[in-house]
Symmetry: C2
Subunit: 589 residues, 2 copies
């Protein structure tokens, strides 16, 4: 894994073979990507603080996982020091490595994970679980200035599908398995999990669960919260076992507390997940809509209908233009077809600048696919949608995991690019979109930097959908790219919560989104999360500071850790909330 | 509402007009229901302890909701003193009323609810929310010997549908609305919520949410956990506002913490719920399967297929026999048809004693209903299922909310009858069934009392289903019916958790199921719930003792209440769990 960027060392994105891309980027960002970029520092140039792993803890960890699986290697520590958010990447490239872990341990069994947590609690160390390391919310980095030893627990040796229960369509799977390996093991017996997030190649089942991940085909397979039934989690008070029952009424759902917990309650070692038979047919078709409003309305009507496609996605005009700009060098036939389509659409009265590209997927038996397509196209047709066949969909399907590499390509050239996604009820989506576009573009303008902001809708539900924004900016030389980026990112996130939408649909909170948590889930919601985390992890050993930031009112960590009786604060981990807060709470809508 | 039984004062069940019922009950329970039963005590005979509502709190409550909505009326206090579990009914009939509330208050707005909670926290009183009062898990009764004032908060004045967002298919609804009133308000505009639990007529939206309820058509509409998107909850630290977004990644789901919280986190005042257009067609068809195994297999295959019926239900042979015994007096034509069916099935080689009655429902457009039925009947046919038309389904549909009245009818005659339900993965269902039948029938035998135990499968999911057991026993005169009943109930519940199933699919924990909680969700799961409750409600004012019993290790309530610093126990509300518990945890499967 690259220590400074996304994915495998030998894979990178290039504009070559995509003749329209460089001109497009030049137009929207005033950036000439044909000029070679500057790579990150060489690893050897980094200043890497020495590990402070003390002998006692080192011995405990060696007892726990075997000496050969306790690493204090510098590259290991740097790779495990944080995730792959844009902020992470910029800081890594600058050699600003943050609070590195003192050790990376690689347990192979639940028993070994338990031994690691036991050692950490006993020696007052911090443990941070690490799967694929692809968090883009700052969930993997120790708190700045953490004075206790920090242990990154790399879970990827727990990578096996333990059992497929064909009768119940459930698979028992170890949490450290990467997406492709999971699918390979399941496919071998004719099964699929059907969970394909953008990070698929570099993320693990445990990471998906810990962040409430969602995948490209979640319309059909469900988000990871729906897919995940049983759980085994090592907590400070023992192994939490959630039975893989389909639904239960055992008080507030403990299963749902683990989902999205980002390592704050324990380390997930195993999950029992839904699997389905690999479908006999799978189709992703491209559609064009005359406008964004028409595309939105079509997706909404599909969600309210009796049709159940596996993928529903529509890009706004900005993202559509970008998609077209990333096309490979066209063949002469491509050119003719493309020209013919343009003529046809222009004659129909379409404004080609406003047109929106959409993908709709169908899966199942041939009959089912045909029936779903018919039902769906009755709706797309009502909104002026035009099916443009399978080739755009196939291309999308092949390229869907490559997008994160583009960030590194742009960053080599000084331009930060990132994503922010949210969800909201159908009625609010257009307003959320308008507010975010105004906020993002307003930020570019205030900064006086060229920028581009685009969006697609994906993940349709009964009552709403996800809006996924991608943006890039090109700060002039001499400016702090990270500062400029943060101005834009914050403007977009603030527009989410100000518009009644959520801070993230499936990228989690980590540290990068935690400042919007209270506005999203309200102050009493934060009290509840804090109560859960602090009561479950009284020593604050489990990935502290994530989701809910440490409360500055309550003194140093030393007084918090371990002994319950020495704490001076109340049960909720802060001053008793004032009852006057009844007056100040208001509905977000 | 009856203070001693189910539902409206003027409604009761009778065997009259059901010629086969009395002989059936005589055969299986040695009980002659034709003999008149003995009613409960007259209300006037009850010994009702005086309210201990002190003047200060009374004044605060009057300020909060208006003097006329603070009731200390005896009948009000008795009706609000507990729910309608079998244990509740037996004790009520005996005049053993438990720890009655000192006052029943009836707020009309969220603001008034907040004022009640503020008064309760300030004066250290206990608040117990009350909707329809139909809990059958002991969620509504104050703890025995509670020394603090107890306030029952009757929510039924908050009964309005505030808004229907037709675009998002969401309705904002006050939590105190009863099922029929909710449907009436929604139906008036062409919408339905589609949530129809057995308790429908006597339960409220807030109660459904607080217990993670499930309804008869949840296969289509989703359990209440799925239906409920937005929430407003009055908590000790202010109004919790959960935005009605379709999916979110804001850490552990606060929405899911409220679901099933039984009043321990606050009082739910409002929810934003999924609604759908009233379907143009709705059909519930009856089917017969040759055996229980065939019926189970058919339901499982339907769940794994591309069919999506709205109701899937199959009774075992015992419940099938009971259902047939409750038929109304047949017309001559009925007799002929029934005889012809028997002859036909016998010729097909069916054992009529083993045959199982099933209902499958279809909803939507005429096309959709026809397509779903075709897909479904391909599967039922493979398992020997035979469609017997619409009349049994219509009858089931009309009578479905009457079942709880039968309990009172039998109790009048000294025979306790009750239900216990669970869920498990498809693969385990037959084993769970076998174990529960053995446990229940074994208990009848050990007690030496006639008893009857029957079951149906309902609520199919991807990976499993709910098994719903109903049982009755007829303890001879001179025995304690409650004691005998508890032996059977406990045997069944124990068989659930011993077989890897859950303690309840949709009836909640309350006090009656809490003894199995740790076996179900494991000790660390209990630690997490305790952390959540105690951190959110540091004064233990909110329906204490429900779901997680008070921890006897930790001294009297006085030391628990209010001041955080005076507590001598750890953050998890108990002694620090031993790390040795890692060794003792094991998987339930």
């Amino acid at each position: 894994m690259k220590w400074w960027g996304w994915g495998a060392e030998d894979v990178s994105f290039s504009h070559e073979g995509k003749p329209e891309l460089a001109p497009f980027i030049e137009r929207v960002l005033s950036l000439d990507v044909r000029r070679p970029g500057s790579a990150a520092l060489a690893f050897e140039e980094l200043e890497i603080p020495a590990t402070e792993l003390r002998a006692g803890l080192r011995a405990d960890l060696a007892d726990a996982v075997g000496l050969e699986h306790v690493s204090t290697d510098d590259r290991d520590r740097v790779v495990h020091g944080r995730g792959k958010s844009l902020t992470d990447l910029i800081r890594q490239r600058r050699g600003d490595l943050g609070r590195l872990p003192d050790a990376v341990v690689r347990p192979a069994t639940e028993h070994e994970v338990a031994a690691v947590i036991r050692a950490a609690v006993e020696k007052d160390a911090v443990v941070i679980p690490f799967g694929g390391g692809s968090s883009i919310s700052g969930s993997l980095e120790a708190e700045p200035g953490e004075t206790r030893p920090v242990i990154s627990v790399d879970m990827t040796r727990l990578n096996r599908v333990l059992e497929v229960d064909a009768t119940s369509q459930l698979a028992r799977v170890q949490a450290g398995v990467f997406g492709p390996d999971l699918e390979r093991q399941l496919n071998a017996a004719g099964w699929t999990c059907g969970h394909f997030p953008d990070s698929f190649a570099y993320s693990t089942l445990g990471g998906w669960i810990a962040t409430r991940s969602s995948g490209m085909q979640s319309d059909r397979y469900g988000d990871v919260a729906e897919l995940t039934r049983g759980l085994r989690v090592v907590t400070p008070s023992g192994i939490l076992v959630v039975r893989p029952v389909p639904s239960t009424s055992t008080g507030p759902s403990v299963r749902e507390m683990v989902l999205g917990s980002e390592g704050r309650l324990g380390i997930i070692t195993e999950a029992t997940i839904h699997v389905r038979r690999v479908p006999s047919e799978r189709k992703i078709l491209g559609y064009l809509f005359p406008t964004w409003a028409a595309g939105l309305a079509a997706m909404r009507d599909i969600a309210a209908s009796e049709a159940s496609p596996s993928v529903t996605r529509v890009s706004d005009a900005h993202e559509t233009a970008f998609s077209f700009a990333t096309r490979n060098t066209p063949t002469p036939l491509d050119r003719i077809k493309s020209k013919a389509l343009q003529v046809f659409l222009t004659r129909k009265g379409w404004d080609l600048e406003a047109m929106c590209l959409s993908f709709i997927g169908y899966e199942g038996s041939a009959d089912h696919v045909a029936a779903q397509r018919k039902l769906t196209e009755r709706i797309t047709g009502r909104h002026g949608g035009l099916c443009i066949g399978t080739s755009p969909g196939e291309l999308y399907d092949q390229k869907k995991f490559d997008t994160p590499y583009i960030r590194d390509f742009l960053l080599d050239r000084g331009a930060p690019a990132d994503v922010s996604e949210t969800s909201a009820p159908w009625r609010q989506l257009q307003t959320v979109y308008d507010n975010v576009m105004a906020a993002g573009n307003g930020a570019f303008e205030r900064l006086g930097v060229p920028g581009y902001l685009m969006c697609h809708l994906s993940h349709s539900y009964h009552a709403g959908a996800c809006l996924y924004f991608t943006f890039a900016l090109n700060p002039p030389a001499g400016r702090d790219a990270l500062e400029d980026y943060l101005v834009v990112k914050r403007a977009i996130q603030q527009a989410f919560v100000d518009s009644g939408a959520t801070l993230s649909h499936h990228h989690a909170v980590g540290t990068e989104h935690s400042q919007w948590l209270e506005e999203d889930i309200s102050a009493p919601g934060v009290v509840m999360l804090r109560a859960l985390f602090e009561g479950t992890d009284p020593g604050a050993n489990l990935n502290p500071g994530k989701i809910v930031a440490a409360d500055s009112d309550r003194g140093s960590r030393e007084t918090l850790a371990r002994g319950g009786s020495s704490k001076s604060d109340g049960r909720t981990g802060g001053p008793r909330p004032s009852l006057d807060t009844y007056q100040s709470s208001k509905s977000p809508s």
